[in-house]
Each structure stands twice: as C-alpha cells, then as structure tokens.
C-alpha cells in the first residue's frame, strides 16, 4: 500500500531574511532532486482596522527580498518552488489557511528563537502553528552554517 505522502507538497512559511536562509537550508536535504512541490509564503500581518506598523508596500518589498534569498538558496540545490505573498490579521491562521489552499501535505518551518517576553508581546507563531494546524507540521532544526553572510 502506498504511503500517504508527507513531503510531496509542502508549505514553507518564512518570516525574515535570516529565517528564509535558515529554512531554505534546513529543508533542502529533504526536498533536493525530488518531484516535490514547495510553496514558500510570507505573511504580511494586517491590523484589520488599526493602522499597520509599517506600510504594506514597504513590507511587500521586504517579501520580495526574502523570496530572492529563497530563490538563491534553492537555485543551487535544484529545489523547484514557488513564492507567494499572503496577507492576514493572524499570521498562524493565514499560514494554515494557505497550506489548505495549496493542498499541502505539511507545513514545514524552522523555529525562531526569542525570549518568552518577546513571544508574549509579538505572538508566538510557532506555538500557534503546532497547536492549531489541521495538517502535519514538520519543525526542522535550524542548521547553523558558518558561512552565513549576514
């Protein structure tokens, strides 16, 4: 009997340049040279009525930069992928919905560190993903590379 796939189509949320690089490196060994669909998403958080912390356009540019990082990382490793900007008032919920829309087998990410305090203030997306997702969530360790260039 065929296995239910886990990594044939994955949704990979990225939050920052550092995160994009770390995540891309962490997932590469699992997806390299496979016929897997990799959907990379960056969520632009909206305040839903209150003024946003930063202009949407400003963050759309940031998203483009992040996608460039991912493109670079994946280009050399032969991982085919697509990148999408997502908008939502709740980051975790938006990621989960997007994974559903793209019919992903799993959500794959590397956790970002940070103190309890910061998580409390800024919201703990990792925890929400793990607890709220209706599909498998694969948390990959952040493989620290010595040659990170910033």
């Amino acid at each position: 009997m065929a296995h239910k796939p886990l990594l044939d189509c994955v949704f990979v949320p990225i939050a920052s340049a550092e995160d994009a690089r770390a995540t891309a490196r962490a997932v590469t060994p699992y997806l390299r040279d496979r016929d897997a669909t990799v959907v990379v998403g960056h969520v632009i958080e909206k305040a839903g009525g209150a003024p946003d912390k930063a202009s949407v356009e400003q963050r759309e540019r940031l998203a483009e930069d992040l996608f460039d990082v991912v493109d670079d990382e994946f280009a050399s490793e032969n991982v085919s992928h697509e990148c999408h900007v997502l908008y939502g008032t709740d980051v975790a919920e938006t990621i989960i919905d997007a994974a559903d829309d793209f019919d992903a087998d799993a959500i794959v990410f590397t956790p970002r560190g940070g103190s309890r305090w910061l998580r409390l203030l800024t919201g703990d997306v990792s925890l929400s993903l793990v607890t709220q997702s209706d599909r498998p969530v694969v948390v990959l360790p952040d493989v620290e590379e010595a040659d990170t260039d910033g």
Partner: protein, 752 residues
C-alpha cells in the same frame, strides 16, 4: 485565495478609514487647546476651530484627488514630490516629519497635564509622565505589539461618545452672559488662533497615507476624509461653545485640564473623571498614529531616494521600521524635555502642516495641467469647485500662516530650511525621479486611428509571448471587427518589468536586449494587425509592475475590452494567475477576456465555438464574445450550451429549463447570428461540462466572479476548463459587476 489576499491587503472600508481618521483627529487638540484658544481669542475661538475645519475640508478634497490618483504610502509628501519635484518634496517630507514629531510631543505633554487630575504635579512631573508614555509608545511600535482594529474602534467610539455627552449636557448649562464679550481680541486673534488649533486637524492626513489599503478608494477615500474632517469640526466648535459658555475666560485660560474642569461644572466629579480618561485615550492614540505616520513618510522619502533607505530597514523579527520609529521617538523625547511651551509645540506642528497643505493645493493644479499618462484619479474635485477649492485652500493656508507669531514662524521656517538644505546638500545628488518615464510610445498607426480617448471601440491586448501573439490578436481583432461602425482599433502593449530597487531609466539603459526584443514583438504585432485588417497602435512601457502599467493603459485609452493571454497553470510565483493578470482583471472596469490557448502552435482558425450559458452575471458577455469570434470566420458554428443538474421536483424538465435560459440570454444580447442550443444534464457539472465541450475548438465561459479570477483556480469550472479542456478556452468578464458571482451561484446550485 490570491483574491482573498488582495482584499486583505486592502482591508479598510469606509468605516475603518473613518475611525482611523477620527482616532488621530480627536486627539489632544480638543482636550488641551480650549484653554490656550480661549485665552487668545475668547469665545470667538470657536470660530477659529471652524476656520480650521473649513481649511482642512479644502485640503481633504485636494488630497482625495491626489490620493486616488497616486495611492501610494507617504501621503502629501508623495504627491508634492511627484507633482513639484524633489525640492518641494524635501520641504514637505521634512515638514511632515517635523510636524508629526512636534504634534506627538504636544500630545504627550497634554497627556501628562491630564494626569495631574490624579497626581498633583508641576511642570517637571508633567514632562516626566510625558516622557515615560512616549518611551512606552515607541516601544510598542518598535516591538510591533499587536494592536487590533477592534481596540481602535472601542477607543474612537468611547471618545466620540464622551464628547457627545459632554456637549449634550454642557449646552443646557451654557450661560449666555459668560459668552460675552464674544470677540474680545478682534478677528486677527481669531485667525491667529486658527493657526494654533490647526494641529487638531492634521489627523485626517493619516487616511491619505493609508490610501493603498483602502477598499474602493474612489468612493471611500474622499468620503472618509470629508467625514473625518466634518465630524470633529462640529464637535470642536460645540466643545468650545460649551467651554467658553460654562467657565469664564480667566478660569478656562488657567486650567491645564480644561475639558475636565468644564465637565466638573455640570457633570460633577464623575464627568470630570470621564473626560480625563477620554483625554488620556485621545492623546495616546493620536501620538501612536503620528509615530506610525512619520515612519511612512520616512519610507516614502527613502523610496524616492530623498532619505537614506538605511532608516527604513524593517526589523528582522518584529517587521517594524524600527530605525525610523527610534529616530522619530528620540526627537519627540528631546522636544518634550525641551523648555518649549506646549502651545508652541502645537503651533509649530500646525505651521508645518499648513505649509504642506498649501503645496498640496498647488500640486492638484499642477497634476491637472500636466495630466501625466499614469495619473487618472478615481475621485476628482467636482467641476463647479475647481479650481476654487485648491485656489482658496492655498490662499487660506497662507493667510493663517501669516497670522502666526514670530517664534513659531521662525521655528517653522527653520524646518522648511532643513528641507531646503537637505535637498541641496544631499537629495539633489540622489534623487532619481520615479514614474512611468521609460514609456516610449510608438504611435505608428497602421490604419485610421484617433489619438487619445476618442469614441472608437478600443481593445487593449497586452503581449508578452511571440508564439501566442498572433492568436491573441486574432481574438482581439474579432472583438474589434464586431464594432466596426465606430473606429475600432487594437492597442498592443508590452511591458518590460524591472525590479523596484532599480530606477526605471537605469534599468532601461542596461537592458538594451530586452528593449529590442520588445520592439520586435510590437513590430510583429503591427504586421499581424495589417494581415487581419484591423487598426493597431503599440505602446512600449517600462514599469516596476506590469499589472499596474497595463491597468494604466486600459484607463488611459479608455478601453472597452482587454484581452489577456493566460497560461492556465500555476507556474508564476506570488499570484496564481501571475502577478500581472490578477490586478488587471480584478481592477479594470472594462470587459476582460482571458484566453488560454490550447497550445503554442498557431491556430488556423477560431473554429467551432461553444459558449457555456449559465445564470451568472457574465453569461451575456460570454455569448457576445462567442458571437464575435464566429462572425469573422465563414465556416464557424456557434453553440450555446447549458448544463443542468437533474431536479425531479421542478415543474419543467431539465431540458426545458436549459432551453429557456439559453433563449433568455440570447435575447438579452440580441444575438443576430445563427446558433444551436445544447442542453446537457448531469450530476457532476464539471465533468459534464468537460465532456460536452470536447468537440469544440473554442470554449467561452464566464469568469466566476468579479475580481476573483484567481479564486477560480481553486476548483471552479472555468479553471478546470482552462487546465483540462483540449480546445482554446476564453474566460469572459463583463464590464458591469454583479454582487453574486457565478462561483457563488455554482456553490449554491451544487449544495442543493
């Protein structure tokens, strides 16, 4: 999904935009200024607030036109920079930034003053409280602590409620004798006081700076701005009426918590406490919004290279423009700690904004006269009010500026000076003006063409792929031929898209190859048009965003129909149909057809055409398209196909219902070509449709929904057809939108 995203990107409706404006407007101004205003102009200071409101209303009209024409972050700064160039751009950018800093410091000191209700403290205590709160606000925005729209609404509703209660009870308590003498200081003082209190009106600008996030901006933007000016103006005037009618000018002038002291008169200590709470909420929410607005001005200045983009880096973790927020915050703290009196802080902020708005009025007139290609504001100042509004607004702003006191004028002019010096010393060497400058129109008509927005039927065809170019043009030509009575013509567009990081000119210089490829593509289009015997103009465009550029062309040409190629697959990143198609189909107001060509090899003919006729709003346009295609070929046939699900309860049989529907739609569009009607009954609409259309060369189907082509890709009929049908699939969308989408109709039908 992608469509949903776009809607979320624009998540502010009228009410949200209005409350954001109100939240910033109903700030420290009305809670702190009554004492200063009453001292300066007596009861007549209510007229000062009225003048401030009228001047703001004029600015709101001009800003609305500019903001809907250029919905970009940065507000007034962006419009002035675009219209008047970097010199004035730098003045306004620094002016707004400075104005927001002074205003924030003013709000924070007002906050401190109101705390004296609880803790008696002197000027130092007030300043310390102000500093602590300012640090807290900077931290909130630095760390990106989540604020929600719900909280914002609660604050605004609470504030408006409090003020209305204050006014309602206060009016009954007004003693007409206290209002006399009404105008002890003369009209000059009233005008000068209008300058002082103008800071209470700068909040509506925040709506313009959020233009990119407002839904249906042509309507919601001007409406919310006007409402956000009119509401507070009425409230302010009435608050002044109540204040000056309840307390003597002397008592009022001495109070540092005027509104609470007035409320104490007729609502007792409970009323006073409520007003203190209101003042605290108002000052904090105003300062918060101002700090965020300042960061957007910084971002917009960085985008035009007037400021270094170093300042605009978004924080890795918090995703906030932390450096801009810190820079603004530090200066706010310095201003609070400085010995500048609270009234002067307010006046300097007013000064900066009056300078800004006077230039905004000039910008409206400049933009109208210059009328650049890509400027087509959805909202325009009505003809009867133009150029009265900007002219009067400009003069009125200057008149108030002229009345302001020397110290304020000097500080204000210093801020202007900073902008000038900055421009000459830094920005001039950096500033690369942005815009659709790379546009190199090649107006080489092959046949009768009218330039500009003539009456002819105009079909815009964005071209990208030389292999599918001919087929797209063939379909477009069919549509044009059907409107031969007017001067029908095609407008072929190709957009070279360059990354945002580079300026348009720069990139064009480096991309000779892409430019020559563009020329080839368009030359070929001209040849094909000559063969197809249809008039064609070409437009070669360089832009940061192909979607935007095409939309601009569609609007500029006053197009009747836009024909787009569609790959029918999910290959592009960002958006499902490709970042170009989504905005064009979502936002263009003319008819749109998406054509998914069966293969890249050229078609000989459009061939036998089938149009899927359903109950959706796009059925008529679908039939119209199909008829157009059939009309240009001699041996082509047209079939109108309707799919019914079996329904035993219905009065008529499924076939009858289908035939009725087809006839109705055909009559609707007064179809004048021969056609066959085919009704197929099946439980699975998609499968039935796929099977039924297999025999045809071209399938026309209505788009599922206004603004939602992308959504169709997640499991709706046109998508399935686009991906799996063997023939060419044309997805048609009408110009007029209907609230119910075909997709919704389908869901409804399927769930029965």
């Amino acid at each position: 999904m992608a469509d949903q995203q776009q809607e979320l990107a624009r998540d502010l409706g009228f009410l949200e935009a209005y409350t954001i404006g109100l939240g910033t407007m109903i700030g420290a101004g009305i809670f702190v200024l009554p004492s200063i205003a009453a001292d300066a102009a007596g009861p007549a200071s209510m007229i000062s607030f009225l003048i401030g409101g009228v001047v703001s209303l004029l600015a709101a009209l001009s800003l609305s036109e500019l903001a809907t024409g250029m919905p970009k972050a940065g507000g007034s700064y962006y419009y002035v920079n675009r219209a008047l160039g970097g010199f004035f751009g730098s003045i306004v950018g620094w002016g707004m930034w400075g104005g927001l800093m002074f205003a924030s410091a003013f709000y924070m000191l007002g906050f401190g003053q109101y705390l004296t209700y609880f803790v008696p403290m002197g000027a130092t205590g007030v300043a310390i409280a102000a500093l602590v709160m300012a640090v807290l606000l900077v931290a909130v925005n630095y760390y990106g602590v989540k604020e929600t729209g719900a909280l914002q609404n609660v604050i605004v509703i609470a504030l408006v409620g409090l003020i209305i209660v204050f006014i309602a009870f206060g009016v009954l308590n007004v003693d007409m004798s206290t209002l006399r003498p009404f105008n002890p200081e003369g009209w000059g003082a009233v005008a000068a006081t209008a300058g002082t209190v103008y800071v209470s009106f700068i909040g509506f600008e925040v709506i313009a700076t959020s233009a990119e996030e407002i839904k249906n901006p042509s309507r919601n933007l001007p409406l919310s701005m006007i409402a956000a000016v009119v509401t507070p103006t009425l409230l302010y005037v009435l608050v002044m009426f109540v204040s000056t009618g309840s307390l003597s000018i002397d008592l009022l002038a001495e109070s540092s918590i005027p509104v609470a002291d007035v409320a104490e008169e007729f609502l007792g200590s409970v009323g006073a406490l409520a007003m203190v709470v209101g003042a605290v909420l108002a000052t904090v929410s105003s300062a918060n919004a101002s700090i965020l607005s300042a960061a957007r001005v910084n971002f917009a200045m960085g985008r035009d290279n007037i400021l270094t983009n170093w300042l605009n880096e978004v924080h890795n973790r918090f995703r906030t423009p932390y450096r801009a927020i810190l820079a603004t915050g530090v200066i706010i703290l310095v201003l609070i700690a400085s010995p500048v009196p609270i009234g002067t802080l307010a006046e300097v902020a007013s000064f900066s904004y009056l300078v800004t708005y006077s230039l905004v009025h000039v910008s409206v007139m400049v933009m109208r006269r210059a009328d650049p290609e890509d400027y087509d504001p959805a909202f325009q100042i009505p003809d009867v009010l133009y150029p009265v509004v900007p002219a009067v607004g400009f003069v009125a702003s200057l008149a108030i500026l002229a009345q302001m006191n020397t110290v304020v004028t000097l500080v204000g002019i210093t801020i202007v000076g900073v902008g000038v010096v900055w421009y000459l010393g830094y920005a001039r060497n950096q500033n690369i003006k942005e815009g659709l400058v790379g546009e190199a129109i090649a107006p080489e008509p092959t046949r009768a063409t009218t330039n500009g927005g003539g009456e002819g039927y105009r079909v815009v065809v964005p071209l990208a792929n030389p292999k599918t170019e001919r087929d797209l043009l063939r379909f477009a030509a069919a549509s044009a031929h059907a409107h031969e009575d007017g001067d029908a013509e095609l407008v072929a567009v190709n957009v070279i898209e360059v990354p945002r990081q580079t300026s348009l000119e720069q990139d064009v210089a480096f991309e000779e190859e892409r430019v020559s490829r563009q020329q080839e593509l368009l030359d070929q289009a001209r040849d094909i048009a000559a063969e197809l015997d249809v008039g064609l103009r070409t437009r070669a465009i360089v832009s940061h965003d192909a979607g935007d550029a095409i939309l601009d062309v569609v609007e500029d040409e006053d197009a009747d129909h836009v024909v787009l190629g569609w790959r029918g697959s999910r290959t592009t990143r960002e958006h499902v149909l490709g970042s170009t198609l989504d905005p064009v189909v979502d936002r263009s107001f003319c008819e749109a057809s998406l054509i998914n060509l069966a293969s890249e090899t050229e078609l000989d003919r459009i061939g036998d055409v089938v149009a899927l006729v359903g109950e959706g709003p796009n059925a008529p346009v679908t039939v119209k398209r199909a008829a157009e295609f059939v009309a240009i070929e001699d041996d082509a046939t047209l079939t109108l196909l309707n799919i019914q699900t079996p329904d035993d309860d219905a009065d008529a049989s499924a076939e009858e219902r289908g035939h009725d529907l087809v006839e109705r739609v055909a009559a609707d569009v007064s179809l004048d070509v021969d056609y066959d009607t085919e009704v197929v009954v099946g439980d699975d609409v998609e499968a039935t449709a796929l099977e039924a259309v297999d025999a045809y060369d071209t399938v026309c189907v209505g788009a599922t929904r206004e603004g939602a082509v992308s959504q169709t890709l997640f499991g709706s009929l046109p998508e399935t057809l686009g991906e799996r049908a063997s023939g060419t699939v044309v997805m048609a969308q009408g110009a007029s939108r209907s609230p119910q989408s075909i997709r919704e109709a389908f869901i409804k039908r399927l769930s029965r």
